[in-house]
Amino acid sequence: MRHLLSAADVDAATANRIFDLAEEMADVQNRPVKKLPALRGRTVVNLFFEDSTRTRSSFEIAGKWLSADVINISAKGSSVSKGESLRDTVQTVAAMGVDAMVIRHAASGAPWQAAQWTRAQIVNAGDGTHEHPTQALLDAFTLRRHFRAAANGGSTGTDPFAGRTVAVVGDITHSRVARSNVLLLTTLGVRVVLVAPPTLLPSGVETWGCEVTGNFDAAIAEADAVMMLRVQRERMSGGYFPTPREYTVGYGLTRDRVAALRPGTAICHPGPMNRGLEISADAADAANSLVLDQVAAGVAVRMSVLYQLLGGDDAWVSQGGQG
């Protein structure tokens, strides 16, 4: 695999290799000197056309702990309004001799286009309402740890995802997190249940290989994890649902729903959270909330991804060759 554009690029074996390496990377996080020489001399540019402090910081730390030279370029604002085309921006950055570009863009597909225009390796750090593959990887990594611990005190012998059900709840239509998670979790053998009002379900969702329901309470009764999606402020008044209050009653992880969770059911949220809207404080701060574990896992998983793409892991590099 030359690029990481989509969670669909990752098969189960590759995902588990990323997770295993991420476990090793996570150990680095607990050392006093958090630095590996793995990517010394390599240059990674975080090319962010859309603000995202948390994703950019996570990639920046991941690259730096692997000793890569990491440069952040903020190209906020539509390239149309600036008068420079996306192609010109991407090729300008590439001409500086970078090895990899981590691209965040408000428009779906921008990393695919970039991959056509440059020889640099591309990591999709979130494109529009399409995909966010490293978020899906860190979510699955976090769940793998959780399911292993829940199963038998951390044994690595059995498949931690077998027989598991994950409910993904909220604005599926506009969520890149949801698309990537559906792709990766179904690859890993997880049963995925999408929970949303019909106005926030994308066309063709019935072809995604997951289940769809509007009944959050029924989904909770079967879930080993609930993944809450952020409701974007601009959707709140857009006629997708009448009021935030009504949304919370139907699709929020309220105190009552936390109480109805089965023992051990994990609570995830990619952040930033709208406390009181899609997730109650009781849920966010519950013992089974993995929200901060997700953030911590983000660095380890992104270290693993960058290492696998750039670090000369021949097994990975020789597999894809696409692009």
């Binding site: 390239s79 085309s85 996306l86 921008a110 286009q113 494109d127 698309r179 066309s203 063709g204 995604w208």
Partner: protein
């Protein structure tokens, strides 16, 4: 058609258009077809021969719908380069949409476009007038003053005349001068400016804002009833969905007295929405590429006459306007040079239509809709020498760089298609020869 000293003798062509039995030779002098027996009788005239053995001679093609970008975006296309591309595509007349900068919403602007076409001398360039001032959908443009300069087709293309009352008034008003309203059917509330992909499985998977089929067919359903109400002429631009076809089929039966016509683009006859999988903005067009079921439906409708005409919606764009992220890139694709080839590929080779029907859809009918009396005429003695010579079997691989247009946003690049146009004669003048 001024006096000339050269005659053009075309030998061996088979005429299409109800005249196949009248022999294949055509003599062109001073813009008119003469009896070929006259060839060479006047020794003072030079005689240029074109051997057209095995070729078809058809009335010159008429494009009801193209964007020539001048004035305003001469970096993407000019009237002269657009007319040259049209001639190469076999067109002898093109209608230039009003969404230039400034908009063609006055008589002066219309005269300017027509004059640019006359300067180019590569076939008729006929301005389309805006329906509303500045295409803003609020107030009628000066339709009558534009009509006095010869404008008959009015359109806000690029925008829908979405206000039902304005549409009604426009239809009523143009009745006075036999005008027609060419509607870009797109409900802006159902398919807003962000909508860049057919709403369906592909838009959901790719995370692109959807443009539902209903945004087109609901406007058409409204407009056909307004056409009946006002007893005026409605032309529906770039029909792209099966539902729109059904509405048109119903309307033509329900309102036999109404003058309702429709067009389909070559790209909607062949290209499908799954081409968007790689996010290549070359395939971003409005209305968007639709699924295969819609392609089948518009082909069948073109074959049975529910859709009357083919129109290119030739939409050239500067390269940098297409090299943005998909959602930010400009809508549209070039199409003048490849139009007839696509029609042959999708309609003739499939057996859906014969050449008589192709001539109707690409020449006779569009000429009638636009009221261009010198276009789309049968190739008989005394008629204007406005014709296209066609090789019905030639094929070629399309190369976007091999073009007379200034733009390269060509969705057919790299694809093998019929390459039928051998020569184009517009009002007696050879405007293209392979």
């Amino acid at each position: 058609m001024g006096e000339t000293t050269t005659d053009l003798l075309i030998t061996g062509a088979t005429r299409v258009g109800g005249l196949a039995d009248e022999g294949g030779d055509l003599l062109v002098r001073d813009g008119v077809l003469l009896d070929p027996a006259e060839a060479g009788r006047d020794g003072s005239r030079e005689l240029v021969r074109i051997d057209a053995d095995g070729l078809l001679a058809v009335p010159g093609l008429v494009d009801l719908h193209c964007h020539l970008r001048e004035p305003g975006r001469e970096d993407a296309e000019t009237v002269a380069t657009g007319a040259a591309a049209a001639a190469r595509g076999g067109f002898t007349a093109v209608l230039a949409m009003a969404n230039t900068v400034p908009v063609t919403d006055t008589a002066e602007a219309a005269r300017h476009v027509r004059a640019l076409g006359e300067q180019a001398g590569l076939g008729a360039v006929v301005p389309i007038g805006a329906v509303s001032k500045g295409l803003d959908g609020q107030e009628l443009a000066e339709l009558g003053l534009m009509a006095r300069t010869g404008v008959r087709v009015f359109s806000d293309d690029g925008h829908c005349v979405s206000d039902a009352r304005l549409m009604r008034r426009a239809l009523e008003y143009v009745r006075a001068f036999d005008g027609v309203i060419a509607q870009h059917a797109q409900d802006p509330r159902l398919a807003g400016p962000d909508a860049c992909c057919h709403e369906g499985e592909v838009s959901g998977r790719l995370g692109l804002a959807g443009w539902p089929a209903a945004a087109e067919s609901t406007i058409i359903a409204r407009d056909v009833q307004l056409a009946a109400l006002t007893r005026s002429r409605l032309h529906v631009c770039h029909v792209s969905t099966a539902e729109s076809v059904e509405v048109l089929r119903w309307a033509k039966q329900r309102y036999p007295q109404a003058d309702i016509t429709a067009e389909v683009t070559p790209h909607h006859l062949l290209l499908t929405t799954d081409l968007l999988a790689g996010y290549d903005p070359t395939f971003k067009v409005n209305p968007p590429l639709r699924p295969a079921e819609d392609v089948e439906a518009v082909r069948a409708a073109l074959a049975d006459g529910t859709i009357d005409a083919v129109a290119t919606d030739h939409a050239p764009h500067a390269r940098h306007d297409k090299e943005h992220a998909f959602a930010d890139a400009a809508f549209g694709m070039v199409g003048l040079e490849t139009a007839l080839g696509v029609v042959v590929e999708t309609m003739v080779r499939t057996g859906l239509a014969d050449w008589e029907r192709v001539v109707e859809a690409t020449s006779t009918t569009p000429a009638r809709i636009a009221r261009l009396t010198d276009q789309g005429r049968r190739l008989a003695v005394g008629a204007p020498a406005t014709l296209t010579l066609v090789d019905p079997t030639a094929r070629a691989v399309v190369d976007a760089a091999d073009t007379r247009s200034l733009s390269r946003n060509n969705p057919w690049h790299g694809r093998e298609l019929p390459d039928p146009v051998v020569a184009t004669v517009a009002a007696g003048r050879l405007t293209y020869r392979r």
